[in-house]
């Protein structure tokens, strides 16, 4: 008997019991729909991270003083005094390096009028604005002149500006106090949101690094250097930077680095990996419902075989071979699972779009997973349909015809 004929017989049989067919399909619909939605959410989250990494500047390389892989008495990253402003200046000569900003970090209570806020004080260089590709909302970033003169000027992140002066107020020209020293506000950055580390990049103030060194901390060294490479291919530049710094610090071959070089890519890949694991986990949980749907199909097919025993007996009496009966029931199961799978894919699409629209969560519907879900649906039909179908095919026609 031809496949088309088998398909037609199966469709007629399913059509005879529409409600049951639909309910059985529901298992597959929910299973496939859940897998697609979960993966779409996961992929959406990954895309967001990639977006964040891009906003942080894909070309960025961070150099921190100290080396936390170093043996002996370990010092926290950035706590060592091994980096100097001269190191930063020297890195400008390294091929492939475009922008360089020395950095000294501090924390402190920032006060304006009767408002105060504890925040991060980032001493940095003028290049920071180019490296992070970060425009100001009000006023301007500080200048090379300010850096040279260690001027007490501050550029506020939006969070700090809001906390001290209220939202949508231009505080340019106001005076704030940082560790009891007056700083003049010369600008406010635009909002940048979370970094790839989940840190609020807007909860900070920027001042020249020289100001932090001399006026706030009284130190000669710097904590870190942020470099921007000319191209996103940062690995060779990072290697060249290491080489240059080792030379400047007169480290013998075999000596460990007294600094740590990290590319943005390395930082980002860690979080992307985490999200991917999460996606797989969610998809696996959704996959359980797919299996449950498959068991539902097997359950109904078994009931159906028992219920249609006399039909099977009759079909055999008029010339159906065991293989014809097997194929008929198998095709019925596959039709249920494939149709259910198709509708499930549609449901997954609808849910993903709904979540994106109403919950504002980014989603990305993955083409490869649609193929996977469809394939799994078909395989489920074959796997869970085979046992009932074989049971039907092995019936004895005489017994089957007598069945009440």
């Amino acid at each position: 008997m031809s496949i088309i004929m088998t398909l037609r017989i199966a469709l007629k049989a399913l059509n005879r019991n529409k409600l049951r067919t639909t309910l059985t399909m529901l298992g597959m619909i929910i299973g496939v729909g859940a897998v697609i939605t979960m993966v779409a959410l996961g992929r959406g989250a990954q895309a967001t991270i990639e977006e964040q990494v891009k906003s942080a500047g894909t070309n960025t390389i961070n150099i921190n003083a100290g080396n936390f892989t170093q043996g002996g008495v370990r010092q926290g990253q950035g706590m060592s005094s091994s980096l100097t402003a001269e190191d930063a200046t020297a890195l400008r000569q390294v091929p492939g390096v475009q922008y360089v900003a020395a950095g000294v970090n501090s924390r402190g209570q920032v006060i304006a009028g009767n408002q105060n806020w504890s925040t991060q004080v980032q001493g940095t260089d003028v290049d920071m604005q180019q490296i992070k590709n970060w425009p100001t909302k009000y006023g301007n970033f500080f200048t090379a002149q300010d850096v040279n003169s260690a001027a007490k000027v501050a550029v506020l992140g939006t969070v700090v500006a809001e906390m001290l002066f209220g939202p949508d107020t231009d505080p340019t020209g106001e005076i704030i106090r940082v560790r009891n020293q007056p700083f003049k506000v010369i600008g406010v950055m635009t909002s940048k949101g979370q970094s790839a580390f989940g840190q609020d990049q807007d909860d900070t103030i920027f001042t020249p690094y020289t100001t932090v060194q001399k006026k706030l901390q009284g130190i000669q060294h710097i904590n870190n250097i942020t470099v921007s490479a000319e191209t996103p291919d940062t690995a060779p530049v990072a290697a060249a930077i290491s080489e240059a710094l080792r030379l400047r610090h007169k480290l013998a071959p075999g000596d460990p680095d007294d600094f740590t070089v990290r590319t943005q890519e390395e930082i980002a890949s860690l979080r992307t990996e985490t999200t991917r694991t999460m996606t797989v986990l969610l998809a696996a949980i959704a996959g359980v419902s797919l299996v449950v749907g498959g068991i539902g199909i097997m359950n109904i097919m078994l009931v159906s075989v028992t219920e249609r025993t006399r039909e099977i007996g009759l079909r055999m009496a008029i010339g159906a071979r065991g293989s014809d009966v097997l194929l008929q029931f198998l095709v019925e199961a596959i039709v249920i699972s494939l149709f259910g799978g198709l509708i499930g894919i549609g449901l997954g699409f609808a849910l993903s779009l709904g979540i994106e629209r109403f919950a504002q969560w980014p989603t990305s519907i993955p083409a490869d997973w649609i193929a996977v879900a469809f394939g799994v649906a078909a395989a489920t039909g074959v796997f869970f349909g085979f046992y009932p179908a074989r049971k039907a095919a092995r019936l004895d026609p005489i017994e089957a015809l007598r069945f009440e």
Partner: protein, 266 residues
């Protein structure tokens, strides 16, 4: 040459620990064009013989030649093919597919017609023709639950005809029918037998039904006890003419499958 030839056929099977000797060496020849009525008490082996004749079962020993071919040792798939091409079945319980039109029910055997690529138009044409032969030319698209018992049995007869078999095996076809409908069904069998030369083997409990045949066989204890020509054969057409015209037949029930699905296959 006889169309059915059974030689010393034995069938034993075990139910639990009891061995049942259903057939204990029966010999039987049926010529083409005969109308054989088989009777016998329950457990006499007539049903077992029917299953073997219908190629639904294989004998424990002995031989069965159908159209000169020994089918007693054929494989299951070969037997399925033989059933499809050479044998038509009519059952007591009709065994029609429910929620399936008369036309589709009649077409069913053609779907298993050994991979022959018959066009659906051709299948339809043949199914319509078969339904017309049994007098249901106006019931093509009715579902079994919209037909009376007699009409359902006629659909089943049309189904048995569609592959143009040489034998029709009827297992108590009038068991679920009233007297008049029974005679109507016997009329159809007699016409098929007379006009088309189809060999008919009929199992029945009722003597008056058996007397519509040309030959009478009684089974007892797995053997043939009586085998004789029927001298005064009943003519169903004449009987029908003699009966009072049918009282207004109550409308066959419509649409409620639960109430009227007797004999239908779920």
């Amino acid at each position: 040459m006889p169309v059915i030839s059974v030689r010393n056929i034995v069938k034993t099977y075990t139910v639990g620990e009891v061995t049942v000797r259903a057939l204990r060496g029966a010999d039987l020849d049926i010529d083409a064009g005969e109308f054989v009525a088989i009777t016998g008490p329950s457990g006499s082996g007539k049903s077992t013989l029917m299953h073997i004749l219908g190629c639904l079962d294989r004998p424990t020993s002995g031989q069965y030649f159908l159209d000169g071919v020994d089918v007693s040792r054929m494989s299951k798939d070969q037997l399925a093919m033989v059933r499809n091409k050479k044998i038509g079945f009519v059952f007591q319980g009709f065994n029609l597919l429910s929620r399936t039109t008369a036309l589709d029910n009649v077409e069913l055997p053609l779907l298993y017609n050994g991979g022959s690529k018959m066009k659906s138009v051709e299948r339809h044409r043949r199914a319509m023709e078969a339904l017309k032969i049994v007098g249901l030319g106006d019931r093509f698209h009715h579902f079994p639950n919209q037909l009376s018992g007699g009409q359902q049995q006629r659909v089943a007869i049309a189904r048995s005809l569609i592959t143009e078999p040489s034998i029709i095996l009827a297992d108590e076809p009038t068991g679920n029918l009233d007297t008049r409908t029974s005679i109507e069904v016997m009329d159809i069998f007699q016409r098929l037998n007379r006009e088309r030369g189809i060999t008919i083997v009929l199992i029945t409990h009722e003597m008056d039904i058996a007397e519509h045949g040309t030959r009478f066989i009684r089974f007892r204890d797995g053997k043939i006890q009586v085998d004789q020509k029927i001298s005064k054969r009943r003519d169903a057409a004449a009987e029908l003419a003699a009966l009072p015209p049918p009282e207004d037949e109550p409308e066959p029930p419509k649409g409620d499958p639960a109430a009227s699905d007797h004999g239908g296959v779920a």
